[in-house]
């Protein structure tokens, strides 16, 4: 089998990273949309360990985990590079991408799935983490410098998901006054060519994430009730 296939869902922010990278490099590919409640045999065959999207399949060979996919794309198609050449700058880029997934995403998610006092408390680490990103943007338009790079793609979900989550919980997380550089970056990134054409439909996202929040809160309440009634 020859060619490039991308297994994704309509909403996965991780899959978008691969979409952006492939489009930035002008690589033709076939999209396979997965229904995660009914995974295709192909997906299970290509990602048996995690059974998740995205999976990139190049000439029959599968690559899983979105940041690993980004590096694979960058190394295979060397034009329009996403990562810098210098090893120290590459290490720095990898660090911020990892920070985004390990800390920024998890802390913002925590704010999103909580309410009341717990939500207030969850805001503290979330804002601290965002401050590090604000610092990192000093003197730069994008995290990659003048043009979009690896870190921008890794953090790109902020350009869309943040406003959706903020609308659902009625809370401003990335305040334009507290985070002027980050807010500007979110706008510039979201509106950039290629990036702006690929955002998932906002109304569908709101419905999906509202349902996810409601379900998570209900499950947490049920678990708490079960624990106290013992």
């Amino acid at each position: 089998m020859v060619g490039v296939k991308l297994f994704r869902t309509w909403s996965s922010p991780f899959a978008l990273r691969a979409v952006w990278a492939l489009k930035i490099k002008g690589i033709d590919y076939e999209t396979i949309f997965e229904d995660l409640s009914n995974k295709s045999p192909s997906l299970l065959q290509y990602n048996p360990v995690y059974k998740k999207v995205p999976v990139l399949v190049h000439n029959g060979k599968p690559i899983a985990e979105s940041l690993i996919i980004l590096e694979y794309i960058d190394e295979t198609w060397k034009h329009a590079p996403l990562l810098p050449e210098d090893p120290h700058e590459r290490a720095t880029a990898r660090f911020w991408a990892k920070f985004g997934d390990d800390k920024v995403l998890t802390s913002i998610w925590s704010v999103f799935i909580k309410q009341g006092k717990e939500q207030e408390e969850a805001m503290v680490p979330a804002l601290e983490n965002l401050k590090f990103l604000e610092e990192e943007l000093k003197g730069k338009k994008f995290f990659g410098g003048e043009t979009i790079g690896f870190v921008d793609l890794a953090l790109g979900w902020l350009g869309n998901l943040i406003s959706i989550l903020e609308e659902i919980v009625g809370l401003k997380v990335v305040d334009g006054e507290k985070f002027p550089l980050l807010s500007a970056w979110m706008q510039d990134f979201a509106d950039a060519p290629i990036i702006k054409d690929n955002w998932p439909p906002r109304d569908r996202m709101i419905v999906k994430f509202q349902a996810l929040r409601d379900a998570t809160i209900a499950a947490a309440a049920a678990a708490a009730a079960a624990a106290t009634s013992k």
Binding site: H58, I68, E75
Partner: protein
């Protein structure tokens, strides 16, 4: 004009993350200065070089810091291209190694941590998760060791060997403290023979802390964690 090649490693003797970086530097024959950090009283340098996480290891190369052990290992491989190569050059082979590196680093390491720091039902569940993941790893590694028992030396050791040793090298100390086997020659024959092969290598032996010290450290971590649950 020759550039001064100054390499410093800030670490902690019992840290599996520090161990990974030390091994990589030794394998590549890179001379470095080691600075032992007291994690309860971190030096100003660590706080300056790693303001985000304030953690070790930190590698400082000609004054520039690199943090996060996996990222440090990639940096070492990209900067010093002599053997052994920690990662393959081919993008697909490289992606496979990075995939399993992430599995070892995130999944297995976290499960192992949970087993060590819990007891009762929680520990039973954590142990079950660990064994399941070990089975997945055993299966996954068959592709890397088609001949069965791995044949590794100082010339061909790579990223996965380093991670495997850093995580399971102290298995005897774990067994002593936990009073159970973590990697088992019967349950995970390939993984077990792999760890055995690694622990025999001279470069690994000289980096291994004494057994009693490791036991004391694991014991300390476990007791600390269990006490804070009770409070």
């Amino acid at each position: 004009m020759e550039e001064e090649n100054q390499i410093k490693l800030h670490g902690m003797w019992g840290s599996t993350f520090t161990k990974r970086v030390e091994l990589a530097l030794k394998l590549k024959g890179i001379p470095y200065e080691y600075i032992e950090e007291d994690l309860s009283n971190k030096s100003q340098l660590v706080l300056k070089y790693n303001p985000v996480h304030k953690k070790v290891p930190v590698l400082v190369h000609n004054g520039k810091p690199i943090i996060e052990s996996l990222i440090i290992l990639e940096y070492i491989d990209e900067t010093w291209k002599n053997a052994p190569r920690l990662l393959p050059d081919d993008p697909y082979e490289r992606a496979k190694v990075l995939f399993w590196a992430s599995f070892l680093h995130q999944q297995l390491f976290e499960d192992m941590g949970r087993v060590i720091t819990s007891d009762g039902e929680a520990q039973e569940k954590a142990t079950k998760d660990l064994f399941e993941k070990l089975t997945i790893l055993e299966e996954g590694m068959k592709e890397f060791f088609p001949g069965g028992t791995p044949s590794i030396n100082g010339e061909n050791m790579g990223l996965l060997d380093i991670l495997m040793y850093a995580l399971f090298g102290p298995y005897k100390a774990h067994e002593e403290v936990l009073e159970m086997k973590t990697i088992d020659p019967e349950r995970n024959p390939l993984l077990f023979s792999w760890v055995m092969a690694l622990t025999e290598l001279p470069v690994v032996k000289e980096s291994t802390p004494p057994h009693e010290k490791l036991v004391a450290l694991v014991q300390f971590i476990r007791e600390n964690a269990l006490q804070s649950c009770v409070a």
